[in-house]
Subunit: 326 residues, 2 copies
């Protein structure tokens, strides 16, 4: 069995080889730009790893791997427009480099292209693959809507938040694993375990994203830190900080996420929010919850009836995600 | 065989019965609003008619019919945002009634929901159905991009224009017919004839749309006339008018689609462009080309090896489209 780095390299090669520019160029150039911006390629890697675990070979999932990454990049492209994010992976986002209409239409086209890649990849279980992809796509949209809703509310429950990140982030990692396993003809029970592994890995991944937004190193991170605070995003950090805070700290946080946060200016707002985070030590708290998600994920992975050697790349992936700095 | 009005009524009932609101409501309310705005329901009707022609029954294509209309309405929703159109079917467009982000995300979700409807509709030829739907969707996006490109150019060839409307409009009508016939298990040669019928019907439909924008009755039409002129849209009318015009008329048109059109104000621009259209009698010319598309479409319909009775609803549909005022 290859290790996780081999899979990541294979995915890089696949994206280097693939031709994304067609006519009209105004439509496809932003798609090519987006798909060549790089990124961690976690979803196609998970899809390929899951396939290989159950004895599938690379050619069986090449197009599906491109499809899942194309879908993921479509969601980023539209999210960046909706969130007005200027940068993605340290480069201008599509709506900034081109314009809003280009971001809308090239994004729509990427969603359609994702389907083309899946439809091109033959499998006796293609119907299950497509159902999984489609239900995942719908959940991702729902997750993004919850995320936008939360920006307008002052209080969001931790449960609501966990549902949101499950839909927005975790189901796509889980779906990538499930699709890879389906192409390999894996047994249903193992596919379910793999899916649950993916869900917990996804929750871990998002909680860590929340942490990095506040505590990442901007040079490594590739984008401004504190962006979630500026955007009034109710991530795990403020929600959990509110639970841990005393009355004075709670009042400070709520006012910063209200009019006081507008009045004092964005940089000052970030500074004061981070000060409360440090006082209640929310960082250690989130790290504890990340460790719990890690255990839950590994628990499901252990239950899968395959030799340890086969599961090695997924253990490595977990280690990689836990150690990531961006 | 039912007549076309029965099919249109069935489609209305299907949309009345279908539940489009789920959680989160902020995401699904605009989808429900869009799908209940009405409209001509031409695409699902074509899909059902094509199915019935070849002996299929209604239950075989109910969900697919909803799927094709959901896709069509998704494209309208995003097009209205990109074109900044305030009204659709006489009502506020989604980006106006809600906001831009809602239009983007609810649109994306509608695209995914369209897939769910197709995937729900079992068929031994589902794979062909999905391929047809997907390639059609990609072509529609390409058509929209050509359309946006043309707005920025002063001269567009008639051939380029015909390719654009083929992709933006005709392939979806043709695709709806093909999908309906696939669900009924129709022979490949007849499906191809039906597809070509749909292409020519679609071209006719779009050319008539171009005519209505300039010559429609605003009370019946449901939206402002002359919008294409305001938007500098290179529709068949200005492109053909340029071919028919003398040097003075040509200079007048080109200046109106350039800086002179901005300087004189929108209403004056519309008035002066329409004056040239009348001078070169572009209306009669477009009506002649519509008649040619009509003949081409009917030619393919006649070649389909079915009793005339079976083809009656499509003849009726052509009559309906030719007589439409909005």
């Amino acid at each position: 069995m290859n290790d996780i780095k081999d899979f990541l390299q294979k995915i890089e090669r696949i994206f280097e080889e693939e031709q994304f520019v067609h006519q009209p160029e105004e439509l496809y150039a932003p798609i090519d730009y987006t798909l060549r911006l790089g990124g961690k390629r976690i979803r196609p890697t998970l899809l390929m790893v899951a396939n290989a675990m159950f004895g599938g070979d690379e050619s069986q999932v090449r197009d599906a791997a491109i499809g899942i990454e194309t879908f993921h990049n479509f969601t980023l492209l539209h999210d960046d427009l909706m969130d007005r994010s200027p940068l993605r992976r340290g480069q201008p986002t599509v709506y900034r480099k081109w314009n809003e209409n280009t971001a809308i239409l090239s994004g729509d086209t990427m969603f359609a292209l994702a389907w083309r890649y899946f439809l091109r990849q033959p499998s006796p279980r293609l119907r299950e693959v497509l159902d999984c992809f489609n239900e995942t796509a719908i959940e991702v949209c729902e997750g993004q809507q919850y995320d936008m809703n939360f920006e307008k509310r002052n209080l969001v429950g931790i449960d609501e938040y966990m549902l949101m990140i499950r839909k927005k982030t975790a189901v796509l990692l889980a779906g990538a694993l499930k699709i890879g396993a389906l192409y390999a003809g894996a047994p249903a029970a193992d596919i379910e375990r793999l899916y649950q592994f993916g869900i917990h890995m996804g929750l871990l991944f998002q909680l860590q994203d929340d942490l990095l937004d506040a505590y990442g190193d901007v040079a490594v991170f590739g984008k401004q830190t504190g962006q979630d605070i500026r955007d009034n995003k109710k991530t795990f950090l403020p929600l959990r900080a509110l639970e841990l805070a005393n009355e004075a700290q709670k009042a400070e946080l709520l006012s910063l996420f209200g009019t006081a946060g507008v009045e004092c200016g964005e940089d000052e707002k970030v500074r004061r929010v981070l000060a409360v985070y440090d006082q209640v030590d929310v960082r250690r708290d989130v790290e504890k919850i990340i460790a719990q998600e890690d255990s839950a994920a590994i628990g499901f992975l252990e239950e899968i009836a395959l030799p340890a050697e086969r599961k090695k790349p997924l253990y490595e992936m977990m280690e990689m995600l836990k150690g990531r700095k961006k």
